[in-house]
């Protein structure tokens, strides 16, 4: 079976990150599956997967074909033609309703081709109820020969679930055991060159707080981490991106009350490992949030700001799903922190909130059990890649 996966990078690395993770999980779930990834931004892709060669418009990677969205008018056009001459598109996963490049559209809707093509639009992850309603719903294209359906990732039974790729699940497993956790962290610190060899043991033994959010004044969060750090040695890991300078500025302003280390931009598998190695994570974007939720450890999610604070609808929907896994008393601080952190009209270095994260940092076995239970529920929904393959077999 050959599947064409289409991806257009809208902003940042969220879309291509999901697509790369999906490709890995699909390849793992189906022996002999041939994947062709058609991507419009190879530079963005190469940051998540260094094996991508940005100079090549058609290339092999991990046994998959990677093709540039913009089929160039040079020698590689013949290579595109050759690739599809013997293996035309029959099953297509269009990610996030990204559309199709013209050269692909022409093949898909070629009037001389009477074969049926199956297309699935993989939508954005959301905890909102429409995910269940729209999951597996028939859609339309202009040709009855190109049959399209919607496929919704999600947190609930009745959705496609979350992507459970092997690398992430392996990392999750290695860091879930307290005994192996410290040794794994020491290896990670050395591999990512986060501390000197002499300092690696101490670095790895601290309470790790990972910060990956949008631009804002992180003064309140720095204050809470500093307060928590009075009793527990803390190590903050500051992800590359918009929140980095903002967090460091607040940390500097507070007198550098705990060690904080800026991380370089990490390939996806390294990022996943840092995320599951951390004791508490502040994450933005749906994919990192889903990884944080799957880690089973406490986390705080910052949703992409939308007009009229629509992000709060998404956050409340996620909280509604989480609530069922928590004791009511322990869920209150989680709900308060999530809501306060997302209650903003826009992002910027001056934007302040009242997000109190101290209750989420302080060890609380009841609250920890809630996060762990939520992770178990998500795992119980199965692997999106496997669910998607099952669905494809039903509709092809």
């Amino acid at each position: 079976m050959t599947i064409d996966v289409l991806c257009k990078v809208v902003d940042n690395y969220g879309d291509i990150g999901v697509v790369h993770r999906l490709a890995r999980a699909l390849a793992e779930s189906e022996r002999g599956l041939k994947l062709r990834l058609i991507v419009d931004d190879l530079v963005a892709y190469s940051l998540l997967e260094p094996a991508v060669d940005t100079a090549r418009t058609i290339q092999d990677m991990h046994g998959w074909k990677i093709l540039s969205w913009a089929c160039p008018d040079d020698g590689s056009r013949a290579a595109f033609r050759q690739e599809y001459a013997t293996d035309p598109p029959r099953i297509v996963i269009e990610c996030f309703a990204c559309g199709r490049p013209d050269w692909f559209e022409a093949m898909l809707f070629d009037p001389a081709d009477s074969a049926v093509k199956t297309m699935v639009n993989l939508e954005y992850l959301s905890a909102e109820p429409y995910a269940v309603e729209f999951h597996r719903m028939p859609s339309l294209t202009r040709s009855p020969l190109v049959r399209k359906h919607l496929f919704m990732p999600g947190f609930e039974t009745g959705t496609g679930g979350l992507i459970l790729d092997r690398a992430f699940m392996d990392s999750r497993s290695r860091y879930s055991d307290a005994a192996s956790r410290k040794a794994e962290r020491r290896r990670l610190v050395g591999r990512l060159d986060l501390a000197t060899p002499a300092g690696a043991v101490e670095f790895a033994g601290r309470f790790w707080v990972l910060v990956f959010g949008y631009e804002r004044d992180y003064g309140r969060i720095v204050g809470d981490v500093a307060e928590f750090g009075r009793g527990t040695p803390v190590q903050v890991l500051v992800a590359s991106g918009k929140s980095g300078p903002c967090f460091m500025e607040a940390w500097d302003r507070a007198g550098k009350p705990f060690p904080a280390t800026r991380l370089p931009f990490l390939p996806q598998t390294d990022w996943d490992e840092v995320l599951v190695a951390s004791d508490f994570t502040i994450v933005r974007g749906e994919d990192s949030m889903s990884r944080a939720a799957l880690s089973g450890r406490p986390f705080l999610w910052q949703a992409y700001p939308q007009e009229g604070k629509q992000q709060l609808v998404k956050v409340r929907a996620l909280l509604d799903g989480m609530r069922r896994c928590f004791e009511p008393a322990s869920f209150g601080p989680v709900e308060t922190a999530f809501t306060a952190f997302n209650d903003r009209l826009e992002d910027g270095p001056e934007v302040r909130g009242d997000e109190g994260i101290l209750p989420l940092l302080v060890p609380d076995t009841v609250m920890a059990a809630g996060f762990s239970s939520f992770s178990d529920v998500l795992l119980g929904n199965g692997n999106l890649a496997g669910n998607l393959m099952t669905f494809l077999r039903e509709i092809v």
Partner: protein, 175 residues
Amino acid sequence: MVGKDVLVVQRMLGNKGGRGGMVTKLRVKNLLTGGTSDLGLDSGEKFEEVSMDMHKMKLSYIDGETFVFLDQESFEQYELSKEDLGDNAGYITPDDDFDVEITFYEGKPVGIVLPIAIDRTITYCEPGIKGDTSGKSTKPATLDSGYTVQVPLFCEIGTKIKFDTRDGSFIERVK
């Protein structure tokens, strides 16, 4: 148009917007087969639009499952079945005097376009909750046309409301 099939959108059942675009849930009727189906359509998909004639009419009377409309210029009468009207059948009553657009395909009436906003009176709903004016919480309410829509909790029997005929959503209370 999908291949040779002509589809008419009978109802917008809801939508959700993401950063990449909108997915809309629609009820469509296939004019060739007569079948209806619910579909999720993303905003990026392009279709050939079918040319339809539109004629302004008024509802003349309802005879069982048949709705009879009167062309205001030619004074000819045209019949549409309740099924042709889809959910719109539940929004109109024989007493209505507003203009509607009847769509024609190859000379036959196939559907109806109502005014976007119309007023109806609630004939039954659970008692209203005073003070809740947010409109975020809703309850079912039966209209004088017999149809049921979702309305805010503050609405009561006898309340006149304006609602959106495209998706049945409450717009405002008519004072």
